[in-house]
């Protein structure tokens, strides 16, 4: 149980970063942290005690497998996270070029 709580705690730290931080890069990091924690959470859900990775090999014993479906979901989620991060960074660097800062408050001031 403690593992799930730690994963959700990491998620909430990410939320805190997004809400409280004023720096664009920090906000991107916050979103990426949330992404990681959700991925970890899904894998924790799909774990089976004493299970092995769901890959058939020669001379395999009769161990149970862990659930392959969350793994497929997380694989998708990792790539989605990469895509989001890349687009966010592209826009952040563009904003930096226009304003010369990553700080949200200064951007607001400059915008007037």
């Amino acid at each position: 149980m403690i593992l799930f709580i730690l994963a959700v705690f990491l998620f909430l730290i990410g939320v805190y970063g997004v809400v409280a931080k004023r720096n664009l890069i920090k906000i991107v990091i916050g979103i990426a942290l949330m992404e990681y924690s959700v991925n970890l959470f899904l894998i924790l859900v799909g774990y089976v005690k004493g299970g092995t990775a769901p890959i058939l090999t020669e001379g395999m014993t009769k161990d149970p497998f862990v659930d392959p479906l969350p793994q497929a979901m997380v694989l998708t989620a990792i790539v989605i996270g990469l895509a989001t991060t890349a687009l966010l960074l592209a826009i952040a660097i563009r904003i930096y070029k226009k304003y010369g800062t990553f700080d949200i408050r200064e951007i607001k001031n400059l915008k007037g």
């Binding site: 990792i78 790539v79 592209a90």
Partner: protein
């Protein structure tokens, strides 16, 4: 962008091909061992990124490279879609995403029907996609510095 020192260049020269081949290996063995199109494609693009970082980009016509990798990416994902949609024609019953090739023996390299083909298409797509993102950032940087 400028390249790095001679030591870095030499080391990159030696390991870059190995990384590239390892990426290909991961893609091709996706249905047998851990990994697959996504991991392998990312490794392949990593080898290119390493080359560019070590040797610098002034020898490259970046814009052309970017267009090329973008087209490669689009073609790869189009191939993916076509293979998936072929099931609607070949599968006989109009099913999307059907594994219409013979399955073969489990554990052989040539097995699992269309899955290796999907892996290769996705591998190409991911490799080209990550390279394109990197090149786009590089071009933008060069233009800004100008």
């Amino acid at each position: 962008m400028k390249g790095m020192t001679i030591i870095v260049k030499k080391v990159t020269q030696m390991i870059c091909g190995v990384i590239f081949l390892y990426g290909i290996y991961i893609i091709v063995h996706g249905h047998l061992t851990p990994g697959g199109g996504f991991a392998g494609g990312a490794i392949v693009s990593g080898s290119f990124i390493l080359l560019i970082l070590a040797f610098g980009s002034e020898f490259l016509a970046l814009k052309k490279e970017e267009t090329g990798s973008s087209i490669l990416e689009s073609s790869a994902i189009l191939i993916f879609l076509i293979i998936a949609a072929l099931g609607m024609v070949i599968g006989g019953v109009g099913v999307f995403f059907v594994n219409f090739l013979p399955k073969g023996t489990i554990g052989q390299l040539i097995s699992a029907g269309v899955i290796p083909l999907f892996n290769i298409a996705v591998g190409m797509e991911v490799a080209a996609a990550l390279l394109t993102i990197f090149l786009a950032l590089l071009i933008y940087r060069d233009e800004v510095l100008k």
